[in-house]
């Protein structure tokens, strides 16, 4: 208050500076929070430091807390497989949905579809998990997995017992969960494509679809990559729905029909029961690995976005 009244002839300048300082503090708080989390997790891992080498921990395939054997690889594998599967399924659907919304849907339909997309995003993950357990898993077990095994059974991806639970179920449920994120960001990205580019394609004799392919999609590539990154981030960290349908077995299997485990799922499931310091330390280690994985994928994706923005090659 004193500072404000002290310089009445320059109130705007002072206000600007206070405002600026406040914003800097808020921005800095993000870094502080992230730092504090990493520090706290790091401290939790001390019982294992010196006993288990970091690389051994990451490469280890055996997870047996009772025998004090801690390997993170099955969880890393499960997290990556389910997230990538989710992206593979959700991305084409989201892009198609976004193209439909921006380019094709009649004006009256748009708010309806847009509302439905937002609704998907608002469903709590435990509800997705329940739906997955009682609807998706039986459906996969009885229809989808036998069909996939019949058609593509020669691939290791589609072999083994068909029980419904597992990587496929987790990947699909993640796909549904990240679809609204990717779709809504892609919609915004497509809306930013200038009308003049569409017109440029159309006057060359492009059909509507050719104009989308020639002018709209290339212009939106970087933004769509960003949308995918957001979806991937959500898929990596999703806990509840995944743990309800993945089977929770720390194993590395090639088949998508097999059960597995993910980093967030094992942390959530075992933290309450972790009695030994080493077990807690290993779970904190997994949390750090998840953190690192997210940062790594984020960085890679950002580099990709830069590369795509810089690239100018042919798209035809």
């Amino acid at each position: 208050m004193d500072a404000l009244s002290a310089s009445p002839h320059r109130p705007r300048n002072l206000g600007d500076r206070l405002w600026g300082a406040g914003l800097v503090a808020l921005g800095g708080a993000v870094a502080v929070v992230a730092g504090v989390i990493v520090l706290a997790l790091g401290r939790l891992t001390t019982p294992l430091v010196g006993r288990v080498h970091l690389l051994e921990f990451i490469k280890g395939q055996d997870w047996d807390p009772v025998a004090s054997s801690f390997g993170a690889l099955p969880f890393i594998y499960g997290t990556l497989v389910t997230s990538l599967l989710a992206i593979a399924v959700a991305l084409p659907i989201s892009v198609g949905l976004a193209i439909f919304m921006v380019e094709i849907a009649p004006g009256r339909l748009r708010p309806v579809v847009s509302f439905l997309i937002e609704t998907l995003a608002a469903i709590p993950s435990v509800v997705y998990g329940l739906w997955g357990l009682f609807v998706l898993v039986p459906w996969l077990r009885e229809s989808v997995e036998p069909a996939l095994a019949g058609a593509f059974g020669f691939l290791p991806l589609f072999q083994g017992p068909q029980i419904g639970l597992g990587f496929l179920a987790a990947g699909l449920i993640l796909a549904v969960m990240i679809l609204p994120t990717i779709a809504s960001v892609t919609i915004e990205v497509l809306k930013t494509v200038p009308v003049t580019l569409r017109e440029a394609a159309l006057v060359l004799g492009a059909t509507r679809w050719e104009a989308i392919r020639l002018a709209v999609l290339p212009h939106a590539r970087a933004g769509m990559l960003g949308a995918t990154l957001l979806g991937l981030g959500r898929a990596l960290g999703e806990t509840m729905a995944v743990t309800m349908v993945i089977g929770n077995t720390p194993e590395i299997r090639t088949s998508l029909f097999a059960t597995g485990y993910t980093l967030p799922a094992v942390i959530a499931n075992e933290f309450a029961e972790a009695t030994s310091g080493e077990h807690v330390a290993a779970l904190a280690g997994l949390a750090l690995v998840l953190f690192g994985l997210s940062i790594l994928l984020n960085a890679v994706a950002r580099l990709l976005v830069q590369a795509v923005k810089a690239a100018t090659g042919s798209v035809g």
């Binding site: 017109e199 159309l202 060359l204 004799g205 212009h219 090659g313 798209v315």
Partner: protein, 253 residues
């Protein structure tokens, strides 16, 4: 010299956007292998007229057109006319240069060829179109460079080259120099002079000196109506309509 044949005949063309009548019963003809300029104050319907000629007006929701537009005697609005095919015959250049930003100079020019399924090496066609657009000498060493690295004037000539590549019969230009500096404008105007030997050109401009410089025939539109159309020299020196005279002498607009 015989009077050139009409490439396009417009009869009683009325364009309605929603509830607004943008063009009211416009009747005129556009001679082949010549430049027709459309002048008039902002909002008079110049651009709409142009966009009707290759059915780009259909992109605007609620747009409706009455009357007929005959291209070589065939109604372009006919049920059997595919706007996609029409636009290959009637190309267009816009107010602001709009090269495809993710493509190279080369790919921009050949984009229409690829669209039309013309396979093979496009290099020769690209060179020919860039030469026609008076851009070849400036870009021949950087055909692989991104199109957006060119200057605004170069980008506009690139867009003209891109339009020429699909071998249109008619070229519509919607204020093609309004975003360009005087030097770039002069280059595009010179280009228009050269292109009329091969193409029928319709150019919308709000710059009357430009209309006088580049066109053979001028049409004056005012509030959706065609006030007067005639040889450019006559329109600018001896207009029949007082409204035309007021406009070309700068009394309004």
């Amino acid at each position: 010299m015989t009077a050139p044949a009409d490439k396009i005949a417009v009869e009683r063309l009325t364009a309605i956007f929603g509830k607004t009548e943008v063009l009211r019963s416009v009747t005129t003809s556009i001679p082949a292998m010549s430049v027709t300029a459309i002048i008039g104050p902002s909002g008079c319907g110049k651009s709409t007229f142009l966009r009707c000629l290759n059915r780009m007006h259909e992109l605007t929701p609620g747009a409706r057109v009455e009357g007929s537009i005959l291209l070589d005697g065939q109604d372009v609005q006919g049920r059997d006319v595919d706007p996609v095919h029409l636009r290959r015959r009637v190309g267009m250049v816009f107010q602001r240069p709009n090269p495809f930003p993710t493509m190279s100079v080369l790919d921009n020019v050949s984009s229409g060829l690829r669209l039309n399924g013309i396979k093979g090496d496009h290099q020769a066609t690209v060179e020919q179109c860039l030469r026609q657009a008076a851009l070849w000498d400036e870009v021949k060493d950087r055909l692989r460079a991104p199109a957006i690295s060119l200057s605004g004037g170069q980008q506009q000539r690139l867009c003209i080259a891109r339009a020429l590549a699909v071998a249109p019969e008619v070229l519509l230009m919607d204020e093609p120099t309004s975003a360009l500096d005087p030097i770039a404008t002069a280059k595009v105007e010179d280009l228009i002079h050269e292109l009329k030997a091969r193409y029928t050109i319709v150019i919308v401009t709000h710059n009357m000196q430009q209309a006088a410089r580049v066109s053979d025939q001028t049409a004056f539109l005012y509030m959706g109506e065609l006030v007067e159309v005639g040889a450019t020299e006559q329109i600018f020196t001896n207009p029949r309509e007082p409204r035309t005279e007021d406009y070309v002498t700068g009394k309004f607009g």
